[in-house]
Amino acid sequence: MFTLPVSKLNDLFAAVASTRKLYLPVDDEASGHAEYKVWHEGVTLSNALNTARSAKDFFFPQTENLVDFKMEGKTIEVIDTRTESEDFVVFGVRACDARSFDILDRVFLAEPVDSYYKNRREHGVIVTLACTRPEETCFCTVFGIDPTNPAGDVSGWIAGENLYLSANTEKGEAFLSSVSKLLAESDDEAVKAQQAEVKEILKKLPLGSLDLTPFKPENLLKLFDSKRWKDLSEACLGCGSCTFVCPTCQCYDIRDFDTGHGIKRYRCWDSCMYSDFTRMAHGNPRLTQVERFRQRFMHKLVYYPSNNEGIYSCVGCGRCLAKCPISMNIAKVIKALGEEA
């Protein structure tokens, strides 16, 4: 484990930024939120627990160009516009978001590999930061995530006046060695102490005791047919805010845009909550908001785990709890369906 006084954080950021782009949570005055922004001199790390948008944007951005076409007469030219991603470092990722990358990996890196995602994933180094002041909306522990011991290429803690860093992967090792001049070797006493302290707070989290046991593949049809979906979804506006702030939601749309000089085929986030998500010329298998609402939670809690060794596609970051316009969320769904089961 390595350490660096918090007062020297700026030097660390400067050293990293001298070789590649460094992103970190920064307080945004206009929104009052923390957002990931590129570090440059004068930018300071946010104290907020987490960013309003998740960290998935780094690997799965809101929109990205897939391929260009040039059309002339009857001919089509396919132009592969992909370029090798720049190296970058994301500093200050929380444990929940760090877990979300594993969940996204299982989708995008499964065969056939999504090269756009992979490209960025390979060029990004994730430096996490342990949580010290969880919020009432946090329930990552329910999914077996330890917010005091976040994953990532490098795990980080800010305890007292010091930052502690510990590499978990080769990429992480390389990262630490690239800034080794600034770092000193250290024991993990301070980290352990902090972990113990935070764990006491974690015990008090109001959503820490959500029970996931009913959500298993063998209950698929039973959960699907639950009577509760109707009243849970009744007020749902069918907007996409939960899916767009969610670090694990990965549905996307592919669209063509005619620039006047050619066609740009791009992909953008899509939401299973949207009424036209599955609409076809001759019908729609998910006609009402009940089905769409059900799909989102069934996917997170049943379908995804059924295909991925029981891993839930939710990390308990609490963003959707904070952002849903009508305050309906996965915690309420877990409770409601759990009661029924």
Binding site: M71, E72, G73, D258, G260, N284, L287, T288
Partner: protein, 663 residues
């Protein structure tokens, strides 16, 4: 994907001198959908048109772009050519490379570049054109005239003359309107009744004309060529068919104290009455507000005396429904109420009267049998003051801002006639301006001043004060001499402003015809379509459209009739196919489009929709009456969802043009 042919016209050298037409034809070859592109000396010539026709056949073209002069010039020509070659005329688009390109640019390079872009925009538009078919709607060969004054009478007579049936709806018991109350007409001074009553009789006798007197329009549905109108025939308690108009009932009726509106309330009539001797139809009417029998069931005198048994106390209002192809509005006017003009003491003194009252006082059929006598004491007035512009050209808020147009002339007439009949009277006319812009009008006015010695004073009357001796003290200012005047008058005559009849507003709503802020009906175009309402099939006759004197009214009435005849002469109306169209699946039923439609072409109905989940839902959706819509497109922008689109100028077509131009 269309198969488009592009035809670039040289227009001799008009285009070819500044636009490299061959380069344009060549450049457009590469556009999506273009399968043939060529240039030619004169596209509009027969040879040029044949080139288009032959190419349509040879290449199986589905769309045509002609790069030539303005579409205002030859769009019709090329559309017809395309049609004769078997494709829909609306699959033709014109790129205007003459008026909007070759004629305004000198530099060949930039003119050619622009011509190519305009051509591309036209190609992009044609790509999205759809064949359009002009709809047809049948025409009911019958017209309705609302209002039976001189305007309505003239219109009805002219229409009937052309052989079409026409109905007049008049809310009074007789037709004739305001003109019946007038004594003589300017500038010829012929008797109003002498020229009007024969026309009234003509109406009654004309087989093609049907008069609904004492009736009102209750409801109007439909559109040009095909209106359905409900007419409410008010109960007159007299069987029109039986009544011979003998008048015995009006003499025997015991209720004698009913103010006679024909004489402006200056004498009385009975509860059963015939408005005046020449009334058409000459049928008695019972005034239910006064009739003892109708009020408390005690009397029945008229019924006893009626030899033909025409009296029917049980008569009810009835509704008649008729179909019409055209409707003429001829609702006329009324003098404004003068209650707000305290300074003239109109409500305080009987001897302050309006000009229309003055007309009655000088009319042989009037309350004084034509002798000019003061209403208060029946004495002959020696000093008469006429005040013009009472409530006209008034920006103070109590009157009307517009000029009532007729007052200058009738006041001159009154002044002149007074001086002629009673040379011993002093006549003063107070005016702001004297406006006499008609044939022989100014001569008429000058005669009043020069031959008859009427005292015309430029200035306004400040106050009229009734005095204890029965005279009226008129305080006024002479603006020319800048003096304050005090005139001791026996009679003051106020030239009250005229305003549209109160019934016009509700009628306009029924007709979806637009009105201005003064409640005058708006014409479709002030210069080009002055007798038509913007709402197709609605025509305007007389003062309902704006203040007019009799000659003007009659000419407008005939003009409206001519328009109506033109419409009724058609068996079918061809509609403009470039009209709005509502996509019912996207329509919210919010009524925004309906609110901005100047023609009332949009209606709403609740329709049942089959939902994807096989349930049905009832939704309110808009639909456009293609016969009424004129295709302005106001509704398409008012519609937030884009459910309303305009055929021939659709959102996607215009955006395709935008894209092509900005590329």
């Amino acid at each position: 994907m269309q198969k488009i042919g592009v035809f670039v016209c040289h227009c001799g050298t008009n285009i070819a001198a500044t636009v490299d037409v061959k380069a344009v034809a060549e450049a457009l070859k590469g556009e999506p959908g273009v399968v043939f592109s060529t240039d030619y000396q004169y596209m509009c010539s027969e040879a040029g048109q044949n080139l288009i026709k032959n190419s349509i056949k040879e290449y199986g073209l589905t769309g045509v772009v002609v790069c030539s002069c303005s579409p205002r010039m030859h769009e019709q020509t090329f559309r017809k050519a395309a049609q004769s070659a078997g494709i829909n005329p609306y699959m033709v688009e014109i790129a205007n490379i003459r008026e909007q390109c070759s004629w305004i640019h000198k530099d060949i390079w930039s003119a050619t570049e622009k011509a190519i872009i305009l051509g591309k925009a036209a190609v992009a538009k044609v790509q999205l054109n759809a064949p359009l078919t002009a709809g047809e709607s049948p025409v009911v060969k019958r017209a309705l005239v609302i209002g039976g004054g001189i305007a309505g009478i003239q219109t009805a007579l002219d229409i009937a003359e052309a052989g079409f049936e026409v109905d007049i709806v008049e809310k009074q018991p007789t037709i004739g309107g305001k003109m019946t109350q007038i004594d003589k007409t300017f500038p010829t001074l012929d008797c109003a009744a002498c020229i009007l009553t024969p026309k009234m009789v003509d109406c009654a006798q004309n087989e093609k004309i049907k008069i609904y007197s004492y009736s009102e329009v209750a409801d109007v549905k439909g559109f040009v060529g095909n209106f359905t109108v409900k007419i409410k025939k008010k109960a007159r308690y007299v069987d029109e068919d039986k009544c011979t108009g003998c008048g015995i009932c009006t003499e025997k009726c015991p209720v004698k104290n009913v103010p006679n509106e024909f004489n402006m309330g200056m004498d009385n009539r009975r509860a059963i009455y015939i408005p005046f001797a020449q009334a058409v139809p000459k049928v008695a009417t019972i005034d239910a507000n006064y009739c003892n029998m109708l009020k408390n069931g005690k009397c029945g005198v008229c019924s006893k005396f009626c030899t033909v048994g025409a009296i029917d106390y049980k008569q009810q209002d009835t509704i008649v429904e008729e179909k019409y192809g055209a409707i003429v509005v001829a609702t006329g006017f009324n003098p404004i109420k003068l209650d707000d003009f305290d300074e003239f003491a109109y409500s305080q003194s009987k001897d302050v009267i309006t000009s229309l009252e003055f007309e009655r006082l000088t009319n042989a059929a009037g309350p004084t049998s034509g002798t000019l006598l003061r209403p208060s004491d029946g004495k002959h007035p020696h000093t008469i003051v006429f005040v013009q512009c009472v409530g006209s050209r008034d920006t103070s808020g109590c009157g009307k801002t517009y000029c009532s147009k007729i007052c200058c002339m009738y006041t001159a007439k009154h002044a002149m006639l007074t001086r002629e009949k009673y040379p011993d009277t002093d006549v003063y006319v107070f005016y702001i301006d004297v406006r006499t812009p008609g044939k022989n009008f100014d001569e008429f006015y000058r005669r009043a001043v020069e031959e008859y010695g009427v005292h015309y004073i430029k200035g306004m009357v400040g106050k009229v004060v009734p005095r204890s001796d029965g005279t009226l003290m008129v305080q006024a200012s002479d603006l020319l001499s800048n003096e304050q005047l005090h005139i001791n008058a026996d009679l003051v005559v106020l030239a009250a402003a005229i305003e549209p009849d109160k019934s016009a507003r509700s009628l306009a709503t029924m007709l979806t015809a637009s009105m201005d802020t003064n409640d005058f009906f708006t014409e479709a175009h002030p210069k080009l379509r002055p007798v038509e309402s913007p709402t197709a099939g609605i025509f305007l006759s007389g003062v309902c459209q704006g203040p007019k004197d009799i000659p003007e009214t009659v000419s407008q009435a005939s003009a409206a009739a001519a328009k109506v005849i033109g419409l009724l002469a058609k068996d079918k109306l061809t509609c403009n196919p470039c009209v709005a169209q509502a996509n019912e699946l996207m329509c919210n039923g919010c009524s925004s489009c309906e609110k901005v439609c100047p023609y009332g072409a949009i209606t709403y109905s609740d329709k049942e929709f089959r939902m994807p989940d096989r349930t049905t839902a009832i939704r309110r959706v808009a639909s456009v009456n293609e016969a009424v819509c004129q295709g302005c497109g106001a509704c398409t922008v008012a519609c937030p969802s884009g459910a309303m689109d305009l055929k021939g100028f659709s959102n996607s077509q215009i955006m395709a043009e935008v894209d092509a131009i900005c590329k």
